[in-house]
């Protein structure tokens, strides 16, 4: 295949309006936190981007009190039609500052600008726009004629989609009439703080949204705070279980969106060229830092060899490098800790006897990068088939019959997502009905929309985000 040459096409970092320091957002003001400030890095260079203030327990008390006051005095009593207009405003302002948000997200997270620009930021804005419309129509959502908010929500979000996850938490909480204290991830706090600024500029009443940066200890203190009525968490299954234990016996609301080990099933009659694109997108989108990533490829034995060859050819064309370059396909791994985890798990794959293939693409010498990797000869029992790698690593397994495909796909403690590739409608539906997963993509993968509920079965968590189903977690009923 002839190689396509690309000239670098970097987006200007200045568009991100990076500040030397950021402060936490509490009670409508940006204030210094009482915790030890953290330094957030650009994972593509490991250079410090900015210093960010963090919360200590007394800040959390203050934020929960501010949220409680805003709930009781302003936001709770406010008619839905008025709440809606604030959310619409926020959606519009996110669109106005979309390029800035995309660049800042890419700087802080390491994801390709193409993805932050085309996926993260537009979807985040869409979540506000969608939920804005619900604020005055909650009586039609199926939770009774006049459903009430829960009160104060505490939310902890991960580093893989920093702005999008903030939107997934804030928009439905506010639409339903709750107020919120949000803790962004330690390594990616910046865009949530710009979103806080947008809330401030939109005139959102003080205390309705509070953003407290910090590490895991801040998150643990927040979710255990007795002043909360509801906790919403996105992150690892291990931490999700800890939170469920923390809340045991309190009766407080809880939704968990946790890990995954999605199967992408390719039948022998699939349109292989399309399947290749879908499989590649499924695992290399966002460097594989996706809870619903299609990290297990289940391919029917008769086409396995052909599909793997096609995949290797396609993966070899992926460009890994500067996340700000618009031609980059695979960006930087978010943190050194995550890079080490990916390295350790892939080494385990080799030790356990799987065959490793690594893309020959050039990998930057500087910064945190991991080349696209594919394992063949993977067995169900191997760690690379069971554990969430959360990186650009695909494990290939084979099957002979549809029953075997379904059995293998479901043989995991997780159940977040799955993919099916076949041109035969009845086989598609038969398979989709049997997969124990909260999102099933048929001849496509990694599609998201605020109208489409997202969330897991089994140890991938409970509760949904998006759609009418997503409102359930934020309403008393």
């Amino acid at each position: 295949m002839a190689a396509w040459e690309y000239a670098p096409a970097p987006e200007s970092a200045a568009t991100g309006r990076l500040q030397p320091s950021y402060r936490m957002f509490l009670g409508g003001e940006f204030v210094d936190g009482s915790g030890e400030p953290l330094k957030t890095l650009n994972p593509a260079t490991e250079e410090v981007l900015a210093e960010v203030s963090t919360a200590n327990p007394s800040d959390i008390d203050d934020a929960v009190a501010a949220a409680r006051n805003a709930y009781g005095q302003v936001w709770g009593p406010m008619p839905g039609v008025e709440r809606a207009k604030y959310l619409f405003r926020i959606a519009r302002m996110m669109a106005e500052r979309s390029r800035e948000l995309a660049v800042l997200e890419t700087l802080d997270n390491g994801k390709p600008i193409r993805e932050s620009r085309d996926t993260d930021v537009p979807l985040a804005g869409a979540h506000f726009f969608y939920h804005a419309g619900w604020a005055d129509k909650l009586g039609y959502a199926g939770y009774g004629p006049d459903p009430k908010p829960l009160g104060v929500v505490g939310s902890v979000i991960p580093w893989n989609f920093p702005l999008l996850m903030a939107a997934w938490k804030i928009a439905p909480a506010l639409a339903a009439g709750n107020t919120i204290v949000l803790k962004p991830a330690e390594t990616t706090p910046l865009t949530a703080l710009v979103l806080a600024e947008i809330c401030q500029q939109a005139g959102l009443p003080p205390g309705v949204v509070n953003v407290l940066p910090g590490a895991g200890d801040v998150g643990a203190a927040l979710v255990g705070h007795p002043g909360l009525d509801k906790v919403a968490f996105t992150g690892s299954t291990d931490v999700g279980k800890q939170i469920q234990r923390t809340l045991a016996g309190t009766g407080r609301g809880l939704t968990l969106e946790l890990g995954g080990k999605a199967a992408n099933i390719v039948y022998d009659d699939a349109a292989l060229d399309q399947a290749v694109e879908g499989v590649v997108n499924g695992i290399f989108f966002n460097q594989g830092h996706v809870c619903c990533a299609g990290s297990r490829l289940l391919v029917q034995e008769s086409v396995a060899e052909e599909l793997v060859e096609l995949l290797q050819a396609r993966i070899s064309t992926l460009r890994i490098g500067d996340p700000l370059d618009k031609n980059t396909d695979v960006g930087a791994i978010n943190s050194r800790a995550q890079l080490e985890k990916i390295t350790e798990l892939t080494a385990a794959g080799e030790t356990e006897g799987a065959t490793r293939w690594t893309s020959p693409c050039p990998v930057p010498q500087r910064g945190l990068f991991f080349p696209p990797t594919l394992f063949t000869g993977v067995e169900q029992s191997m760690r690379i088939a069971r554990e969430e790698i959360f990186g650009p690593v695909l494990s290939v397994l084979t099957f002979r019959t549809p029953d075997e495909a379904v059995a293998k796909a479901n043989d995991t403690r997780y159940g977040l997502s799955a993919g099916i590739w076949t041109e035969k409608g009845s086989r598609m539906l038969w398979t989709a009905q049997r997969l124990r997963a909260g999102v099933v993509w048929e001849n496509t993968f990694n599609r998201f929309d605020p109208t489409a509920p997202f969330g897991g079965y089994k140890e991938s968590g409970f509760g949904r985000e998006g759609g009418r189903a997503g409102l359930e977690a934020y309403l008393a009923h």
Partner: protein, 293 residues
Amino acid sequence: MPTDPHSARVGVAKTYKLYIGGAFPRSESGRSYPVTGADGEFLANAAQGSRKDVRDAVMAARKATTGWAGTTAYNRGQVLYRVAEMLEGRRDQFAAEVAAAQGVSAKRAAQLTDAAIDRWVWYAGWTDKIATVLGAANPVAGPYQSYSVPEPTGVVGVLAPQQDALLGLVSVLAPVIAGANTAVVVASQERPLPAVTLAEVLATSDLPGGVVNILTGHTAELAPWLASHADVDALDLTGAAADTAADLERSAADTVKRLVHRPATEPDFTAAPELNRLRAFQETKTLWHPAGR
């Protein structure tokens, strides 16, 4: 044990056993415990279920999931309606057991029994409407057909209400199986006899064995095994003792079980039912398919 001193005939007393996988075994532990009425009079010995009985029941419930969820919603509705028919046929027996267990008047016991039968009919009619009411067409911004459907969570552990022995039990059990889940129920510890009679109804109502399993015994002894069992997907703590609920929820977190929290006081089950208990044991599956030429 109630006898009629004016009759020469000696009544045939019933043995109350467990209900596991469609069969009526005694507890593998060989234990039983005396059950008395509200007035303190001896009513019967009930089987005192054990950890092993819990595990047998969970295994039976797991085995039954695929078959029960795989029947059509129409068929499940017919089976559940058949249960209501059988309940109606045993109306007087249930009323007598409720009166004895709860110490209410015969009139009140009959009302509670009627309400239980009507409650069952209400849920029987839900089986083929859940997907319509809880599902959705998702108008996504792209060339895709997207829709969401509710699906059963799987095996649900149910700690039945301790006070309301029949109506309460029906109110927590019927939504579980109407939603195509299977159930392992721990009956009211002090008032277990209506639950065992309900098991006899279920066994003669075309309900596949294992869809409902009913254990009698000490709730505090059995509940932890249910809460920690990895093959239990959800837990209804309505009948848990106040001082055990937090521990049970902590244990349930090890496998991210869906929970119905223990209410501060036992709900008034005569109140009109809502969707909550049906929804509590449903997962939402969202599907996407491209549309194109």
